[in-house]
Symmetry: C2
Subunit: 278 residues, 2 copies
Amino acid sequence: MRTPQRSVMRTQITEWEDGVASRADDFLAVEEPLQISVCGRSITVTMRTPGHDRELAAGFLWTEGLIEEPDQIVSIEAVADQTHKGNQIAVELRDGFPQNSGEVRNFVASSACGVCGKASIEAIRSRGLRPVQSEFKIDADVLCILPDKLRARQEVFGRTGGLHAAGLFGASGELIALREDIGRHNAVDKIVGWALLDGRLPLSNCVLMVSGRGGFEIVQKAITAGVPVLASVSAPSSLAVQLARELGITLVGFLRGRRFVIYAGEGRCVGERGVAVR
Amino acid sequence: MRTPQRSVMRTQITEWEDGVASRADDFLAVEEPLQISVCGRSITVTMRTPGHDRELAAGFLWTEGLIEEPDQIVSIEAVADQTHKGNQIAVELRDGFPQNSGEVRNFVASSACGVCGKASIEAIRSRGLRPVQSEFKIDADVLCILPDKLRARQEVFGRTGGLHAAGLFGASGELIALREDIGRHNAVDKIVGWALLDGRLPLSNCVLMVSGRGGFEIVQKAITAGVPVLASVSAPSSLAVQLARELGITLVGFLRGRRFVIYAGEGRCVGERGVAVR
């Protein structure tokens, strides 16, 4: 897994430490807009870290409900355009731009966040998400090693301290895929897009570990990919927990050291001594 | 400063620690959609933590460029509506819905993120932001005490571990205003909206301290409020640094303990021994 070359930028900064200032070179995580077009129509711009752009676009279309079958995608290519410097992705769909879909109308006025930008509250809930059905189990001891594994493989974060990550792990804690991005949602979309383009959806036997919070839209995206267990080092929101409970995804938060909190779907977490409640 | 009652929700969770699971009550940061209407037209929905909704709406209109003068706002009120349970805010503007503004057309298809959701790359740069002009200086030693002050006053975070904060501080490090939200952008919009409704814009003599990253759209929002110094405990992105340098806002990152990094506008950081480079 190589670090995409455009994901890091060098710059000169001033470092202040205990009263002494000095100049130094530093690395920044690159943030640039990516414009996604479907059948010639620009549908969104997301601020992202360049790299894995095709996966990001594919994942975005999937997690936002614009496509429902992987083979709807005929092509998905970066646009060779001097003006936008590789910041445009063009997607062609088998049946053309899905004009008749109510989903799409909401989506066109939507955003990479999956929620904000929608012009009515109804649009948020009208996604028709299907419950996650998976017999997958994860050992509690395996869960505990995931944060260190994720961090150890975050190449760009190590140089910039500024990127979110999403990692896909198997039942034994083996890393299947990892993506980094300045945006939490994008890191997840890149993972889902990778799985989609690789014919791996639904991700019924995986844990998705994210570096940031487990908010509503992250839970929503994980559900569209059929992920049975979503884990995070941080806190989920009220709506994230509610959605997870409604749609049967296991939601783990505050995964740090030898401790975590299960907010939904605890039946999938097992261990030598079980997670049976005392 | 009281904690809004709707900002925290109680729930039952399973806590796993070193092989032993137990049930416990826990608090979640509330995340709910807020629909913002201007002159009867719904323009966006943002996922936010309830509380200070009027300030959030006012700040959003301001930082997104939908209004240019505080007195354009005639009224800004929560809609009494059983269906949406206080999750709607209606804004009336003096001159009606600003149909003729190019800004607004972009904005209607935009989002609470200030960037994502815009349907073209051009829309992002076409804001016509004005450079920050302020003779404000901040002592390096004062900067160093801000993170602890911010954290100490984060009421909801203390109970849920799940909220972002934005804090406005004066030159001596005195806290002027603090707002919390599940969304980083919303916390900043609530601060800007508070300042707007209180007749305090531009915030030419303040430091804005944010708990999350200093991304492009946070820098953009701070610039619209005339904030001369933006500080964060975390890393900025490449585009954030670029925008800060172009428009003359001081951008400080990795503000932790007795160390920080100045990415732009170092002239505003002074100290007993100065920040003169060795």
